[in-house]
Amino acid sequence: MSTQETTTGGPSRLQQWRDRWNGMSRFQQWAFLVPLVLLIYALPVLNPPILSTEPGYTFSIAMFEVARYALVAIGLNVVVGQAGLLDLGYIGFFAIGAYVAALFTSPDSELAKLPYLVVLPLAVLVTMVFGVLLGSPTLRLRGDYLAIVTLGFGEIVRLLADLSPLRGNAGFQGVGQPPGTRADGQDVFNTSDGTPWYWLTVTLIIVVLMLVGNLERSRVGRAWVAIREDEDAAEIMGVPTFRFKLWAFAIGAAIGGLSGALYAGQIGFVNNQRFDVVTSVLFLAAVVLGGSGNKVGVLLGATVIAYVPLRFQSLYEYRYLIFGLALIILMIFRPQGLLGARQRLLAYGREAYRRLIGRPEQVSSDSALAAEPVKGAGS
């Protein structure tokens, strides 16, 4: 990573918030998080006029779109933000997830029908396998090569969807959905009401965040950070770099597949028109815009990328132009993204103390780093 904060002279406001958050007790953090999460759950019901995308776009479906992008961004962040692997074909995994859902639930498919809730983990599993299959040969490559290979992969998946078993443009109608019927006889999960889908996705996001968070704090997470910072050095430290890159790739793929399967269910229809390179780039933009390597950041990035064009419909046509300009401006003034990854890995820092000297030591932000101008950054 060549991007480092060049502004010093005291901790930034962001850093102060981070320190304050890290300084809170578990209870205080929960006291803050629980109402926030409840509010997030309640959003499609509250439909606040200032946030609402109506009448142009059903708000509950817009919220599902945002949640779907958020899930994608978390998955892609494992690959790009944590392990530092540039993946330009993430849409491929998303598409595989969507097609797995379609193949096992749509009446247009000749395969055996399975309940949607069985298909969801199946989609995760299948995309994970594809992640390993694509990763095994390609993760021995580095940097630019990997980007090109993944770009090709995304396109191959899209083109394969033209083949007759995958029905090309005709696609699959009537993709399945979770069970349940409302009092008025309508399905709980249907294609016109995004709310149940949104709740399901937000719940899955929370589960995925916890799993990924635990991984980040483990040996695996330390390995990822080391690989991202300097792959050769990581190897010399005894990190099996290939294995951990493959892990990141497979986990990222699985999350992408999960998101794809949710998407297929909500839309109820899958064909080959929805998985182009531009969407891959849009996913990547969400990660980079929000702050590669920062989970809260990429959630914010995904929200911006998914929500803004729906809220301001008049801008929809110009979204690529606007996001392009926004990214250029961001790269000039804030290359680490809106909320950058922690320059110093504070949480790991405490861990380092605990491991090395057997007791935690408070790592404060007023260390030599903040007091001294940065020299030879990234050297």
């Binding site: 050095a233 010399i236 005894g238 890995l345 491991r355 090395l356 030599a368 001294e372």
Partner: protein, 237 residues
């Protein structure tokens, strides 16, 4: 039996041969230095030993075991630890986090505090800068951190690649003094250097690498007093 033995080792970068038939040994407890000009293959030799570069021929034996095709991370577990050329500290990690990464391959967790003490005793500067990001430190400090980090793996063989590169003169003296100290504490050292004067005077034995092959070998003192070595590497006519 030698701790490390390279036997007719060859390494290619594509079709270009970087090392041809390099044979050398490092005995337990020695400081052995490898000197040579830019591009002679010193760093490639180091990378071959640590497993980052695959061999195209020959064998590497460590403590009696053929490690020629062993994965790099497992070589660390066997006891080979490297401070890479250009230092290679993790720029975004603090000193403590870098040192913690150095101990990544360790299975025994209980001696870590002791090793950390040892590193801080050798490099008191690192103790003062525990929470500073590696990338914001001076060249000399990064070098100390890279060596300290390598020591955290509790290596049996420490590979040092150009530890004096780009350092101010007072740091160079200090680094070489510390290398001797590390060796006296029982760690075998293979040292690659351009600063032949310092390296030869500190080393028990030395090899001279010229365009990918070993051209001379002898004790440090022998090579230090050799006329042709003086002319080629010590800047004395």
């Amino acid at each position: 039996m030698a701790l490390l033995e390279l036997s007719t080792v060859s390494v290619h970068y594509g079709r270009i041969q970087a090392l041809s038939d390099v044979s050398l040994t490092v005995e337990q407890g020695e400081i052995v230095t490898l000197i040579g000009a830019n591009g002679a293959g010193k760093t490639t030799t180091m990378r071959a030993i640590s497993g980052i570069r695959p061999l195209s021929g020959g064998t590497i034996t460590f403590d009696g075991e053929d490690i020629s095709t062993l994965r790099a991370d497992l070589r660390v577990v066997r006891g080979i630890s490297q401070s890479p050329e250009g230092r290679g500290v993790f720029p975004g990690m603090t000193v403590m986090e870098n040192l913690d990464m150095g101990a990544y391959s360790r299975k025994d967790r209980k001696n870590l505090a002791e090793d950390l003490d040892r590193v801080f005793t050798l490099f008191p500067r690192l103790a003062e800068r525990k929470n500073q990001a590696g990338g914001t430190m001076s060249g000399g400090e990064q070098q100390m951190l890279a060596i300290g980090r390598a020591l955290m793996a509790r290596p049996r063989l420490l590979l040092l690649d150009e530890p004096s590169m780009g350092l101010a003169p007072q740091f160079i003296q200090q680094i070489f003094r510390i290398i001797t100290e590390i060796n006296e504490q029982g760690t075998t050292v293979l040292l690659v250097e351009q600063n032949a004067q310092q390296a030869l005077s500190r080393a028990h034995r030395a090899y001279v690498l010229e365009t990918g092959s070993i051209s001379r070998t002898g004790t440090g003192q022998e090579l230090l007093n050799d006329a042709s070595i003086k002319e080629a590497y010590l800047g004395v006519a």
